[in-house]
């Protein structure tokens, strides 16, 4: 399953690109289960068979392709557990992908060494929680001068000046005053600005922002979103904006990518995604989002909770919740289909030429609350069950 080229935005050259990235996390097992697994592997090898790894894995990302063009904001929207943050970590190379590749400017990312450091200079990550991502025992100037020293872009004489410039770039003025402050003296919004300034210290080409505003108060969120928009326009930085708030994606992003259970289900121009959603999951997200303009109480487009990623549903991962689920959805995963230029949706509803048997409605869809297998305990320690 490959993303069709039309999924890529029509403007701009992709700076950072992920092609068919898959990330599996091995589930923690008890010692006994691990020993049993090893014994089974050894037995299979002795018998001359191909050894089968029996360890369970969390399918956090499955064949995800995404491209971040210069001077554009790409938003990734999804519920918790949809793989948004894993995608950011794979793109930042904090964790290697199980399969697929990450390309920076068309070249694959080197795993180690000097080139790896050069990659880190160009691709920077901003984390969600500014209260824990800054070191409480160091002042702002220390946080901002560290990356300059590590990457050798700032030296003794110009260091203070570089720090001041950085603070001014994120609108923390007077810069001299802020440089001497400690994280506890700053508000949440100011801390997040420091975290962004730290990422900007090495003049990256790509900024990966993992839920940068969800910990902040509503009245200061917009300030940060506008700062990201500013960086895109003034400095041409490619921004990956990860969020669960589809309205803020519409506000900030050029392109929105909707993820569900580790897969990209829909992508397209940000306003198009919210104004004319195509995938049933996007419609569900929109029907659930708070909207003061809404005249009548919203009717949820589907119910239930996301599936367990240890044993994801066959076929389309959304089919157990989908109100339009057909027979084909349970058996075969849909390919992304271009519905409009630059707008793709991975759903069988857009496919033509389905047979009558394939398009037979599934009756098990959209059952009530709480009836679904619960993903939380399954993901925390399924090793228990196999004991």
């Amino acid at each position: 399953m490959t993303q069709s080229p039309a999924a890529l935005p029509v403007t701009g050259t992709p700076l950072l690109e992920a092609r068919g990235v898959t990330k599996h996390f091995v589930v923690h097992q008890s010692l006994r289960a691990r020993r049993r697994g090893r014994a089974r592997l050894a037995a299979a090898r002795r018998a001359g068979q191909q050894p089968q790894d029996s360890r369970q894995v969390v399918h956090a990302l499955e064949n995800v392709s995404i491209s971040l063009p210069a001077a554009q904001v790409t938003a990734v929207v999804g519920e918790s557990g949809s793989g948004k943050s894993t995608l950011a970590r794979v793109l930042a190379r904090l964790t290697p992908p199980t399969a697929g590749e990450v390309l920076l400017g068309g070249t694959p990312v080197p795993p180690t060494g000097k080139e790896r450091r050069e990659y880190a200079r160009q691709v920077q990550l901003v984390l969600q929680d500014p209260f824990s991502s800054l070191n409480p025992v160091h002042d702002v100037a220390y946080h901002l001068s560290r990356p300059l020293k590590i990457h050798g872009t700032g030296t003794g004489a110009t260091l203070d000046e570089s720090v001041s410039n950085l603070l001014e770039r994120v609108a923390l003025t007077p810069a001299d005053l802020f440089a001497r402050k400690y994280p506890h003296e700053l508000s949440g919004g100011q801390r997040q600005r420091v975290a962004i300034a730290r990422a900007l210290a090495v003049n990256p080409k790509v900024l990966l922002a993992d839920e940068p505003v969800s910990m902040l108060d509503v009245s200061i969120r917009l300030g940060l979103l506008n700062l990201l928009a500013d960086l895109r326009e003034r400095e041409g930085i490619a921004v990956l904006y990860i969020t669960h708030d589809i309205a803020s994606a519409r506000y900030l992003a050029d392109t929105t990518v909707v993820m569900y259970a580790g897969q990209v289900v829909e992508s397209g121009p940000a306003s198009d995604i919210t104004d004319r959603p195509e995938h049933p999951y996007t419609k569900l997200l929109l029907s659930a989002a708070p909207d003061p303009e809404r005249a009548a109480p919203p009717v949820l487009a589907a119910r239930g909770s996301p599936p367990s990623l240890v044993s994801p549903p066959s076929g389309c991962r959304f089919h157990p919740r989908c109100p339009h689920a057909m027979a084909v959805c349970a058996s075969t995963a849909p390919e992304p289909i271009t519905v409009r230029p630059g707008h793709t949706s991975a759903c069988w509803l857009h496919a033509s030429g389905l047979t009558a048997a394939q398009s037979r409605p599934l009756t098990t869809a959209a059952t009530g609350n709480g009836q679904h297998p619960d993903p939380v305990p399954a993901a925390t320690d399924p090793g228990e069950e196999t004991r």
Binding site: A171, S219, D275, D374
Partner: protein
Amino acid sequence: MTSRRGEPLLEVRGLCADYGAGPGAVHAVRDADLTLHRGEVLGLAGESGSGKSTFAYAITRLLRAPGIITAGDVRFHTASGQVADLLAANEAQLRVLRWSQISVVLQSAMNALNPVFTIGAQLTDVLEAHQPGMSKKAQRDRAAQLLTMVGITADRLGSYPHELSGGMRQRVMIAMALALEPDVVIMDEPTTALDVVTQREILEELAELRDRLGFAILFITHDLSLLIEIADSIAVMYAGRLVERATAAALFRAPRHPYSLGLLSSFPPLHGPRQHLTGIPGSPPDLRDLPQGCVFHPRCPYVMDRCRTDSPPLADLSGNGPPRQAACWLHDGQQEPPAPLALPWPAIGTAAVAAPMAAAGSAWTAAAQGTGPAAGPAGAGPAAGAGPAEAAAVASHTAVASHTEAGHTGETTHTDKNGQAGAAPSLRSTS
């Protein structure tokens, strides 16, 4: 709308709550007046540190040291017509009222549930404490019934909290709060940690239960856009003070306090053209060292000399419309309030009412450019740098689609900065 379902249930007058004493005390709640009516959903909105949770803990006497209630009066009207003074009540009297008449749903369901007991044991514990005569079987049946009521199958009674998802845990908390059929349920950010879909499911269930059981809800959240949808009336808190109180629709269509207006323009809309928003410049004040005069004046774009010295009272602005109050000197009759804060409500006839954010656009932008760190060039929003197809979709002027009061006739109005209005085809999909 406030008196739709009858008489006052919980009356709070002049409530003050501090953390600590002496000159270093944090004044978390100052002079809060609020009335919750029977069967009403009253929303309490505010940022973190605005005192909304302290308010909830103070009125239920759950405030822990160093929190102290320094002044005020909280009266609860019981179903039998008696009036209980909650601040004067002793522990024994409170014990009778708590849970059976007033219950609380806390924000973090993971911390609120005991991890070493099954949820069945925790549900029956409530019944055992408050209805001692109940048989074990009756308790279990009631617990199963409560779980079913909130959409969880009864076989989950034997589950431990860690075996449930976040949404299910929050449902268990709601079931526990409703176990003794209270008149008031106080909900402190009940859905904040949940995904939007789960949040919506729980809100739907809550609305259905409220219609069936008729309890009143004090719903505390920072998400004003959500409150506008679910609450009957809304009180907005800022730095420990109530700054505005109105029906949900009136607050959304015609806010009177600059802070409410700022909050409303902090939520990117899901419809209409994409436009540059500025939020509120600056950040909330330090509660130990509140600014002189109106607490909002350092961030207010309409600040006047008087705001810097005198603190405005929560004044009645009802006029002929539904009851509403705001604490702002702009409405003291000495001057004409700025247009975005003087929108008529209820709107007359079928005349279109422009959404306040559009009219406010210029004022907020100007203010933000002067003082705020968040200032960006006005209108230089998502349009720049986007492809031609997108640029067309983004309005270069500050325009917004708004709805007529009469309802959802599909008629919309464009209002630009100059206030010129004209009919335009609907931009809003009716999904």
